[in-house]
């Protein structure tokens, strides 16, 4: 089975800080990690490979520093990693990103299944996976919590607000997976050493033969007008009393006053 996994480098979620004056992300001193959702996509790919054999290629679009997370993917057990990186891509929105990834995927090979995390922890749009399927003109199943293969078709269980849906689809297929699908494995020592020595293939805009008008800020119809830290409106109240009885009474009174209870 020829599997492709799309991954994104994101700032460590515990570390996200905004510059209060410019409302932009403070990146200095902030660690970069694999988008946590994408780790589940890679784990799903690794489990498919273990069951049905095949090859896993991970692809990321981002700055050259994203090689580090691609090495992490190789350490988890991916076979090959490709970074699509070019200054022309700076400022790409989800449409421009999915366009770029689609061209990279077409060049990388014929994949039976493309697996994405459901969304990224920084942008949180959940758009790139579905857009990518559209760009490639293949079927897509989102919010997957299980992927099975019977030799001819995939049977994917997706989790919705109403319950579970089981959908069958033929190859090639794009699936975006939820975090509750699996527990990503820890990298092994052997794979980590291999990854350490691996060369990550880097493709530029020219290498994948795309139109520079459709990428970067020029190719992105989305305009972010403002990013901001929400104002803290609520007040917290710490109740410290001599006895639990007194504290509970005060808490009940406050809850009643605020019409919460």
């Amino acid at each position: 089975m020829n599997i492709c996994v799309c991954v994104k480098q994101v700032p460590d979620t515990l570390d996200i800080r905004l510059d209060p004056t410019t409302n932009t992300l403070i990146r200095q001193g902030v660690a970069s990690i694999i988008n946590p959702h994408d780790k589940h996509a890679l784990e799903a790919a690794l489990q498919l490979k273990e069951q049905y054999g095949g090859n896993i290629t991970v692809i990321s679009m981002g700055p050259l520093q994203a090689k580090e997370i691609l090495k992490d993917c190789l350490a988890m057990g991916a076979d090959k990693a490709i970074l699509v990186s070019d200054t022309a891509f700076v400022g790409s929105d989800t449409l421009a990103t999915s366009y770029t990834l689609a061209y990279a995927i077409k060049k990388a090979g014929n994949f039976d299944i493309i697996i994405c995390g459901s969304q990224s922890s920084d942008g949180d749009t959940a758009q790139v996976g579905p857009q990518l399927a559209e760009q490639l003109g293949i079927a897509q199943i989102t919010w997957a919590c299980s992927i099975k293969y019977d030799g001819a078709a995939f049977k994917v269980t997706r989790e919705t607000e109403m319950g579970f849906e089981v959908i069958e689809a033929k190859l090639p297929l794009l699936v975006s997976v939820l975090k509750n699908m699996n527990i990503p494995r820890y990298p092994s020592v052997s794979n980590t050493i291999k990854a350490h020595r691996a060369n990550i293939t880097v493709w530029t805009a020219d290498d994948i033969n795309i139109s520079c008008k459709k990428v970067g800020i020029k190719g992105s119809p989305t305009r972010v007008t403002r990013i901001f830290t929400p104002e803290r409106k609520g007040k917290n109240l710490i109740i410290q009393k001599e006895s639990a009885q007194e504290a509970v009474e005060l808490l009940l009174r406050k809850l009643t006053e605020e019409r919460i209870f």
Partner: protein, 387 residues
């Protein structure tokens, strides 16, 4: 079998600092860190006072004194570079009676000999100006002391090491060390119970509480070598927030429980919270009991109430507990110095043991890492082909 240049066992603050230092000094060498837990800093590094010590308490010429004074400076530099939160709030070492003052004067002379910068003695009037709520006759002011976000420190060391090319691998527990020709074969077991081996030329044992066990795997008799680790438990109690603003500095009695004295430090943490601790009592050799006994609040209160007169017993709430790796000393003696030994005399060249690295380990992490990297230079630097 896989081969690397260097392996570090243990992903606490010390192991991470060594991975950072080695990978920075020799970016072309392959540096592998093996940690048995799911991520870094799950052992004693996360259960400390987070104090950046100045180096007053440790005997002149000891490793603790030398590494603490140089490590203090290196740590602040690192924190500035990596935006690790810290607060250089300073420490007052307080004396309450004439006997304490004698000890304080000794500590002052020791501080000068240790080249701790800017320490000065204060009388009770000076103390009142700085700390109106602390009762003491005299104090030694150590302005280079502070407090650091130890998790962010470890995260930055891990990030820096990775950026330099070091490999940090978690959920890998070492269970054997063999010497074969001029290299070490390290046997380890992963999260699935699968066993593997990896070879290296330089091996650093930074396993904290289990460092004696790792040393014994290489054939060292830990009792003969004086490497046996005894787990020493220290509990902390938090002080109710409404009294947190009553103290401005770190307050340490002249002789603290950690160093076999009677006093307990008062820590003002980065969030402005006040904590008392640690105390010190031995735990069993396999203990991982991190519980805090609420009943011990009375003992803490009794110990500190002479200098923290504003405290009431009800102000104390159980906080955290830590286990420290302590080396055996004759009864009543202060703790031993760090053991940082390149085991050439035991015919184990390239093997560095770090045993009994407790307080002031966090302060020393970067100076200690430099010290270890200098030890390994002769092993790693010869123009041998890199694996």
């Amino acid at each position: 079998m896989d081969r690397v240049d260097s392996i570090i066992i243990g992903g606490g603050v010390i192991g991470l600092a060594i991975a950072y230092e080695l990978s920075q000094r020799w970016p072309d060498k392959s540096i592998l860190l093996l940690e048995k837990e799911a991520t870094f800093g799950k052992g004693l590094s996360s259960r400390t006072s987070e104090v950046i010590h100045s180096g007053v308490y440790y005997p002149t010429d000891s490793l603790k004194a030398k590494l603490c004074v140089s490590g203090n400076r290196l740590l602040y530099e690192f924190c500035n570079k990596w935006k690790v939160p810290y607060n250089k709030i300073g420490k007052l070492i307080i004396a309450q009676d004439d006997k304490d003052i004698e000890t304080l004067e000794f500590l002052f002379r020791q501080a000068v000999a240790n080249e701790v910068p800017s320490t000065r003695l204060l009388n009770s009037d000076d103390i009142t100006k700085i700390e109106p709520n602390i009762k003491a006759q005299a104090a030694l002011c150590c302005p280079t002391s502070g407090i650091v976000d130890s998790h962010k420190l470890m995260a930055s060391l891990a990030q820096g090491a990775k950026q330099n090319g070091a490999m940090l691998v978690y959920k890998q527990e070492v269970f054997g060390i063999r010497m074969q020709s001029s290299e070490y074969i390290i046997d380890f077991i992963d999260e699935n119970g699968d066993k593997s081996s990896v070879a290296c030329r330089a091996l650093v044992n930074a396993a904290g509480l289990t460092a004696d066990r790792i040393a014994s795997m290489a054939g060292i008799n830990v009792d003969e070598a004086g490497y046996r680790i005894y787990r020493c438990k220290g509990e902390y109690f938090a002080i109710t927030n409404r009294k947190a603003a009553m103290v401005n500095n770190l307050i340490f009695p002249v002789s603290i429980r950690e160093l076999k004295g009677p006093g307990i430090p008062l820590i003002k943490d980065l969030k402005g919270r006040l904590r008392l601790g640690p105390d010190a009592h031995y735990a069993s050799s396999t203990s991982t009991d991190y519980s805090v006994q609420p009943g011990n609040a009375a003992y803490f209160y009794k110990t500190v109430s002479s200098y923290l007169t504003f405290l009431e017993l009800a102000d104390l709430q159980p906080d955290i507990a830590g286990l420290r790796p302590r080396l055996l000393v004759p009864c009543g003696s202060p703790p031993r110095d760090f053991i940082i030994c390149h085991e050439i005399e035991r015919n184990l060249p390239g093997f560095v043991n770090l045993i009994g690295i407790e307080s002031p380990g966090i302060t020393c992490c970067l100076s200690l890492a430099r010290y270890v990297s200098e030890m390994l230079e002769a092993i790693l630097l010869p123009k041998q082909e890199c694996f």
